[in-house]
């Protein structure tokens, strides 16, 4: 298959052996996440091993589109058993942007599979087909930025670029002007934090899942890659034409007026260059983009702080304040999942309540009186990274800390607003339900903004500016529903009804299924960026219609030479979703566990957000403030969802017939052997 190099690098850190896996064996999965899940399935016979067990296998996968001109499709997918989720360490995923995937493909590799545990700290040095497991002497203990700069020096000899560097001893062995692409861990990962992240360049993090801790458990500091090779493209002129078609169809950046759509007008997707770095204020800066991005949402600043960071790294502590950039750099350097820090408010509340502090019930000498300063954040970040003070407990994740402190009741009151699997609330779980349902049916906070930009941010930003949303609730529901192949014949706008009834409807069953299948294939396997895709609505077109569902298969086919339809991709997504579900079932998943934290059912939403709702025969934007999720109705909805997926509604387990229709007979056999096949 064009787009892929044909080889996946397999590293056994215990035996220090390097081998390869033929990508062709896994091509049916499309790429990225699908291949990662299938490799995990094959290489980890006992799916119940812990995240820090050497038998846990981590896959780092590219997409066939990585390193090509396909727009914003260059992320790197990381999978394996993750230590962050609670109470079970689910098989999970994360991904990160930047240029790592493109560079890995340039070196001739479609992915890296990591097994075992090194006997002492090591890093992986990949220069084209030369792969060396190097001693991490002098690297272990460094933060992620220092680590990368030191590795650049070790690989290229000068740490820098600026001239052509020969990567081999002969003149035809390859040349590049680029720095090695490195993904690495900081002190948090080294000390097996469950919220340790992976960092690449300045602002790319694979945060959720806790893969930083898994790297640490394997004594793996970093993976570095420098490549000088080519990525094949089945139809080069079709790819170039597709990019031009896309620019004309769906650009964020308006060519004619040279005016980018900006936050607040009118779609409110992160469509302007540098958008994600807005929270850093107005320091002189340029936009910064991942490989082949057409949005370029991040920023590089005059001070160099906050480079490449955006969204949660920019807002979790001090948005719009002078220390915002430095705050982002702290979590990137220490290698901590910034999203977990969305729970900082809980610690502050406990401090204010007199429960947490010097000599208190939860004894801590951290300077909570300086909350809001960079000094406090650094003290907390260090404490977690080195497991000092309450950091020893917080390194296990907030909910495990709550468990140890006897405060799991805070999940019922909402003081600890972590609705699913030990991850912090992202969007309101009672109203923006594709987020909460998708997360509880899966393995983590999904972090998939497909619908969110249109149904949440657009009306919210409009309200913040005191204007009507530029697109009506009716238009949002109808125009997006029309694009939800294969559930758009007939078009069912009720799929986007966020009313008290709409969140439990049969239409909602279809919408959640669409979201699960779309993201598994197009976002996580083809690596289309969450902040750029799907392209549902776009101001560049008269009817506001974006390029989804035409664009995604157009790029995939031009690069790979295959001829799939959007619906074919959705079906592969369904297959991947079923394989992931089977892995969770083998880890002990049952429908009885797919229940949100108590506060979701007991405490009304405090948020004034307005969402599209169908009320009294009319579409309107309305608030869900005060709403709780009705547990009985949600359980009934779950039954219908399982049935729609072809799963056993008593257990939530996939059935043989469903799995066999997807070509997963072997998976059905394994579930049956373990007594976990749905009936």
């Amino acid at each position: 298959m064009s787009g892929y190099t044909g080889k996946i690098l397999r590293i056994n850190l215990t035996t220090k052996t390097v081998s390869t896996i033929d990508t062709a064996k896994y091509e049916q999965w499309g790429g990225g996440h699908g291949i990662g899940s299938a490799i995990f399935w094959d290489l980890v016979p006992d799916k119940t091993v812990s995240a820090f067990d050497p038998r846990n296998v981590i896959t780092i996968m590219t997409s066939p589109l990585s390193g090509t001109l396909a727009p914003s499709a260059g992320r790197t997918e990381v999978q394996g058993i993750g230590p962050e989720s609670w109470p079970t360490e689910w098989f999970t995923r994360s991904n990160f942007g930047g240029r790592f995937a493109a560079m890995l493909k340039s070196a001739g590799w479609d992915g890296v599979v990591l097994e075992g545990k090194a006997d002492k700290p090591v890093w992986l040095n990949i220069v084209n087909d030369k792969v060396v497991i190097e001693d991490a002497n002098g690297l272990w203990g460094l933060d992620t930025y220092e680590t990368q700069e030191e590795i650049w020096r070790r690989v290229t000899g000068n740490g820098g670029v600026g001239d052509w560097t020969e990567t081999a001893s002969t003149r035809d062995g390859g040349r590049t002007t680029q720095r090695p692409a490195v993904v690495c861990i900081g002190p948090a990962g080294e000390n097996l934090s469950r919220i340790g992240s992976l960092t690449h360049d300045a602002g790319n993090g694979a945060g959720q899942g806790g893969f930083g801790g898994v790297f640490g458990s394997k004594n793996l500091k970093a993976v570095s890659v420098l490549g000088t090779g080519s990525v094949s493209v089945a139809d080069p002129s079709a790819l170039m034409e597709s990019r031009q078609w896309f620019i004309a169809q769906s650009q964020y950046y308006n060519t004619k007026a040279d005016v980018p759509a900006v936050p607040g007008t009118p779609m409110n997707r992160p469509q302007a260059p540098g958008y994600g770095g807005n929270f850093f204020g107005t320091a002189p800066s340029r936009p910064q983009g991942c490989s082949s991005c057409y949005v370029n949402c991040r920023r590089q600043t005059e001070s160099g702080t906050g480079n490449g960071s955006q969204c949660v790294e920019a807002v979790f502590y001090a948005p719009m304040q002078p220390i915002a950039g430095a705050s982002a750099d702290l979590v990137q350097r220490y290698g901590i999942n910034a999203y977990h820090f969305m729970g900082l408010g809980w610690l502050r509340e406990l401090s204010k309540m007199g429960i947490l502090g010097p000599g208190k019930q939860i004894d801590s000498n951290l300077p909570f009186d300086q909350f809001g300063t960079l000094g406090f954040l650094e003290a907390l970040t260090r404490a977690i990274s080195f497991r000092e003070d309450i950091g020893a407990d917080l390194a296990e994740g907030w909910v495990r800390a709550a468990e140890k402190w006897g405060r799991l009741g805070d999940l019922d009151t909402g003081l600890l607003a972590f609705p699913f699997w030990g991850y912090p609330e992202h969007y309101d779980p009672r109203s923006e339900v594709e987020w909460s349902y998708g997360s509880i049916l899966g393995d983590r906070d999904i972090n998939e903004h497909c619908f969110n930009f249109y149904v949440h941010w657009m009306p919210l930003n409009a309200a913040a500016q005191g204007v009507e949303p530029p697109v009506s609730a009716k238009d949002v529901a109808e125009k997006i529903a029309a694009k939800l192949v294969p559930y758009n014949d007939p078009v069912d706008p009720m799929m986007l009804d966020y009313s008290p009834e709409g969140v439990y409807s049969d239409s909602r069953v279809k919408e959640i299924a669409w979201h699960r299948h779309y993201t598994r294939f197009f976002k996580q396997s083809l690596a289309f960026c969450d902040w750029a895709w799907p392209d549902f609505m776009n101001t560049s077109t008269p009817e506001l219609l974006g390029s989804t569902p035409e664009a995604e298969p157009k790029f995939y086919n031009a690069v790979t030479g295959q001829n799939i339809t959007f619906e074919d991709g959705m079906e592969i997504g369904r297959k991947i979703w079923n394989l992931d579900k089977a892995i969770w079932v083998l880890q002990g998943r049952h429908r009885d566990q797919e229940v949100h934290a108590g506060y979701v059912y007991k405490v009304g939403s405090p948020l004034p957000d307005r969402l599209p709702m169908y009320k009294n025969g009319e579409w309107t934007y309305a608030t869900a403030q005060g709403r709780t999720l009705d547990q009985a109705k949600f359980e009934d909805w779950k039954t219908r969802f399982y049935e729609f997926e072809g799963w056993d509604s008593t257990t939530g387990w996939p059935t043989r017939s469903t799995l066999e229709k997807l070509g997963l007979g072997n998976v059905a056999d394994e579930l049956e052997t373990k007594g976990k096949l749905g009936k």
Partner: protein, 240 residues
Amino acid sequence: MADIKADTENSTAPEQATKGVSRREFITGLGGLGIGAVLGGGLVKGFLLPDQVFAIPASEGYILVDTKKCAGCTSCMLACSLVHEGKESLSLSRIQVTQDPFGKFPGDVEQAQCHQCPYPACVDACPTGANHVDAANGNVRTVDASKCIGCERCVNACPFTPSRALWNFEDKHAQKCDLCANAPYWKEKGGPGGKQACVTVCPVHAITFTGEIPVQSDAGYDVNLRKNSGDWKRIGLSVD
């Protein structure tokens, strides 16, 4: 400097650029000689001036990059190798973008595009005429791979770092930016009178084309495509 419009996607080489060397930017003292000889590709191999300088016509097109606007996404590099080589290769791209993710704006990202020099050292250095001025394509400086003997003198002669003439280590010949005059994997007409892949795909319009010889300083071309760029300032990005 040349008056560069913010959006020049549809612009073509202005007529005046076809006047060749009679530009103030061209090496002084050659004006009286008029257009010299075309190197390579033509019947005349060129003639040597007393001061060891070839007199050759100016290119009818130039790529300009606003160094402070570039987002470092490398779309230009991927487009360049795609339309020229039919595959994606950062190493074979004739425009190179390098960046220090920990660097400070504006010194954090650098773009290396061919300047189509009025006096092209790469052309001068070539012993076979492979690296030549292509009269059929607006005098763009380019490499005829069939004549290249692989000496890499053009690669070493380029006064810029990294060298804009580069060694194609896969197909074993030198190559350089031809303004897409010969882009076999692209259906659009390229060259000075046509489109260029890097200009076409740049998502922030940091690259543009001009038919006029740009003013050149030690720091490269002085280009600002932001100050007239609609909302660049409004979204909080630097226009100075």
